[in-house]
């Protein structure tokens, strides 16, 4: 008898618990079902012979997405697959978004995807595309490659959106009026992180910098942020182990991190060569932030506020994987272009460039506030997510950092500090 009651209650509870489970991200299977249902609906619609609203096309736009073949770097984690198509689905979704708007206003959009092979010369290939009359480029390239593009004489007649390089130099001494930068610069990321650490009163840092050039640049930005927000860097070290520490990190890291008292370990390891090994292995029990641990970023899989769930779902439905930062940047670039052409009713390069830099431009990009471009250097003005691997911790700018124009300009180099001269 008792057993029976127990089982009854057990099952009722089980049913209740299954009802209590929180709303989660949809599984790939659920998303695929949605896609299938979509296609079926489309078929039925076609059968009914109804046509979607379509205004006569008056403006045609062609956009080229450029990426480069790269040598595969050694992987630290066995978990993350190497993504070969970064940026592609971002562009694809944004083109679809632009086309939907375009249908109602008579604008057409098309994207070409080009991957420059290792044996090919970037500038030669790029020039060919400019000669073919392409005006708008989304480029997934690093700093050196972008600097090389700037040497092409005809480059001034097109618009280039950088979707990967975070280097401050591209937004300052090496800036160009027709180069727009979607990724937050190192100084924007470091300010976003620092504002939060200051709020937490974690103001004594142990800074660990990786061996690569970009690690050094990120680290320099962090040092500048520390100065700006009155944070003390108690200890600084360069990580120069070359061995794969997958089996030995437990021995090496405690010794490496046995330093003077600090609140938080700040790491600059852009390629993820060692940062993950620091987490949980430090001599003192301290959190790790920076490129690993708590990370300032423009996009993250834990982001679900302000309609981001819709974006995450749409992206995963298309690609079967999570949206990366580069995907998000590519989406934003193509949407920025679409928004401008819709509002300006023109795809003339000079007009588009002017509109993008004007205060009339504003784009909803799942960040809660509109994103826009800084008129003095073409950097996208945007809130920065502070994400832990499985939770969104905060969004910068933090409360209390005020600015006469936009609080977003408390992040990175503001107009007076910028060395960009258009």
């Amino acid at each position: 008898m008792n057993l029976k009651i127990f089982y009854n209650i057990f099952f009722i509870l089980l049913i209740n618990f299954s009802l209590i489970v929180d709303a989660r991200e949809l599984s790939i299977k659920q998303l695929q079902e949605r896609k299938k249902a979509d296609l079926e609906r489309k078929k039925e619609r076609d059968k009914r012979g109804k046509k979607a609203f379509q205004k006569e096309i008056t403006i045609k736009n062609k956009i080229a997405f450029i990426s480069k073949e790269r040598e595969t770097p050694p992987v630290l984690s066995n978990l993350d697959p190497i993504i070969e198509d970064e940026g592609f689905y971002g562009v694809k979704l944004a083109i679809e978004d632009n086309l939907t708007t375009g249908r109602f206003v008579g604008h057409d959009y098309m994207a070409e995807f080009h991957r420059i092979l290792l044996k090919e010369d970037l500038n030669t290939e790029f020039e060919k595309l400019i000669k073919r009359g392409i005006k708008f480029f989304i480029v997934d390239l690093n700093e050196d490659e972008l600097l090389s593009l700037m040497l092409i004489p005809e480059i001034k007649d097109v618009i280039v959106f950088n979707v990967r390089a975070k280097n401050d130099s591209l937004r300052n001494e090496n800036c160009k009026k027709n180069f727009f930068h979607i990724p937050p610069s190192y100084s924007i990321l470091s300010d976003a992180l620092t504002q939060y650490l200051v709020k937490k009163k974690w103001k004594k840092w142990f800074l660990v910098t990786g061996p690569d050039k970009n690690d050094k640049l990120y680290s320099d930005a962090l040092k500048k942020s520390a100065k700006k927000f009155n944070v003390k860097i108690k200890e600084e070290k360069i990580w120069d182990f070359t061995a794969d520490l997958r089996r030995t990190a437990g021995k090496e890291v405690p010794i490496f991190t046995k330093v003077a008292k600090y609140d938080v370990l700040v790491v600059a390891d852009e390629d993820g060569e060692f940062g993950e090994y620091l987490v949980y292995r430090t001599w003192d029990p301290r959190p790790v932030v920076g490129t690993q641990g708590l990370k300032p970023t423009s996009w993250h899989r834990t982001h679900e506020q302000w309609g981001a769930t819709q974006m995450q779902n749409r992206f995963r439905r298309e690609s079967g994987r999570w949206m990366t930062e580069v995907d998000y940047h590519a989406w934003t670039a193509v949407r920025a272009l679409g928004e401008t052409i819709t509002r300006a009713q023109s795809n003339d390069v000079k007009k588009v460039q002017k509109y993008l830099l004007s205060d009339k431009f504003g784009l909803g990009a799942y960040k809660g506030v509109k994103v826009s471009f800084r008129s003095w250097n073409g950097q996208l003005r945007q809130p920065i997510l502070l994400a832990a691997p499985r939770s969104m911790v905060s969004v910068s700018p933090q409360e209390g950092y005020i600015h006469p124009l936009s609080e977003l300009d408390t992040l990175g180099k503001d107009k007076p500090e910028s060395t960009c001269k258009f």
């Binding site: 609906r41 109804k50 939907t100 708007t101 309609g307 819709t342 936009s406």
Partner: protein, 323 residues
């Protein structure tokens, strides 16, 4: 084991408390997968019921007998008995239904499918999808004239108000509005349709005949930065006096003169205020405050916030029984 028993008894009790009918407000809690029922007179929650996943839009039938809920992550619309909130049946809705609106006679339901750039049209008698209308990306707001002839849908990413002829179920005109339009609401005399733009920070007033924007209402609140003023919910009083606009993370509701479009007052409510609902006598206004997880109850005559009532996590939509 004893504790489990108490839990069960409590569960049963809350389910049986819903016999009072008048003056009830139903609130969807997006993150809790529940609906909270508030007795407006008593100003307290009288019932909380589990519903489908990610409930957002919520409406009621004219006779007050049915409550319809968009269960966005279940890709369906739930039809529940108003009195008990028991599930009566499910309606096909297309993927990710977010907001919807009934035709005047309640015979047709128009649903905005956020994930799908589509407005789905459902016949209530046959409980079947009769048509779907391709609209802009991330459709949300749904406004309908009193005679049910013109439907206005807003698309959040396309930034448009789509005017749809409900007889042919085809788009007749598209009006560009400001960024991320969330709600479209016709004035009581159908002379204007007001469209709120969350990221744009404005409300556009459109003449439904000429399809021209006649007014752009902006908001300025001392001490609140421009970026956090994000208009979403819009409600007009039938006497043509006031329009209430929920301003999202500005944590305020703007009271606008419906005729002159001038600002009368800002009412401080809970955090991230989105949707609004008026009682049938229009003496009381309710707002869902997503981040502070509560509902504000506002006295319309005095233009004063009287109480906030704690509900579930991320309250999203609100509807008040018509009787």
């Amino acid at each position: 084991m004893m504790r489990n028993f108490i839990f069960l008894i409590a569960f049963c009790l809350t389910n049986s408390l819903s016999s009072v009918k008048a003056n009830l407000a139903y609130i969807t809690n997006e993150k809790d997968n529940t609906v909270s029922v508030i007795d407006i007179k008593k100003k307290k929650v009288v019932n909380t019921v589990k519903v489908g996943q990610r409930p957002r839009g919520i409406i009621m039938s004219n006779d007050g007998k049915l409550v319809l809920i968009c269960a966005s992550d279940d890709d369906r619309v739930e039809v529940r008995e108003a009195e008990t909130l028991k599930l009566k049946y499910l309606l096909p809705s297309g993927p990710d239904p977010e907001l919807f609106i009934f035709s005047p006679k309640n015979d047709v339901l128009y649903i905005a499918n956020e994930d799908d750039a589509m407005v789905t049209v459902v016949d209530m008698k046959d409980k079947m999808i009769i048509d779907d209308i391709p609209v802009g990306v991330e459709p949300e707001g749904m406004g309908l004239t009193n005679n049910g002839k013109i439907l206005v849908n807003t698309s959040e990413t396309t930034n448009m108000a789509h005017f749809i002829d409900t007889e042919t179920l085809e788009i007749v005109e598209n009006v560009l509005v400001d960024a991320r339009p969330r709600v479209a609401m016709f004035t009581p005399d159908d002379g204007e349709v007001w469209v709120s733009a969350e990221i744009g920070g404005t409300v556009k007033v459109i003449n439904p005949n000429s399809k021209e924007v006649t007014h752009t209402i902006g908001f300025e609140i001392p001490g609140v930065n421009e970026e956090s003023i994000q208009p979403v919910g819009v409600r007009h009083t039938k006497d043509g006096k006031y329009t209430f606009v929920a301003l999202g993370p500005a944590n305020r509701i703007a009271v606008v003169d419906q005729k002159t479009k001038e600002l009368i007052k800002y009412l401080l409510v809970g955090q991230r205020v989105w949707q609004l609902a008026l009682t049938p006598d229009e003496k009381t206004l309710l707002s869902t405050n997503g981040v502070s997880n509560d509902v504000s109850i506002i006295n319309v005559k005095k233009l004063k916030v009287e109480k906030s009532v704690k509900v579930g996590r991320f309250p999203w939509g609100v509807v008040i029984s018509p009787n």
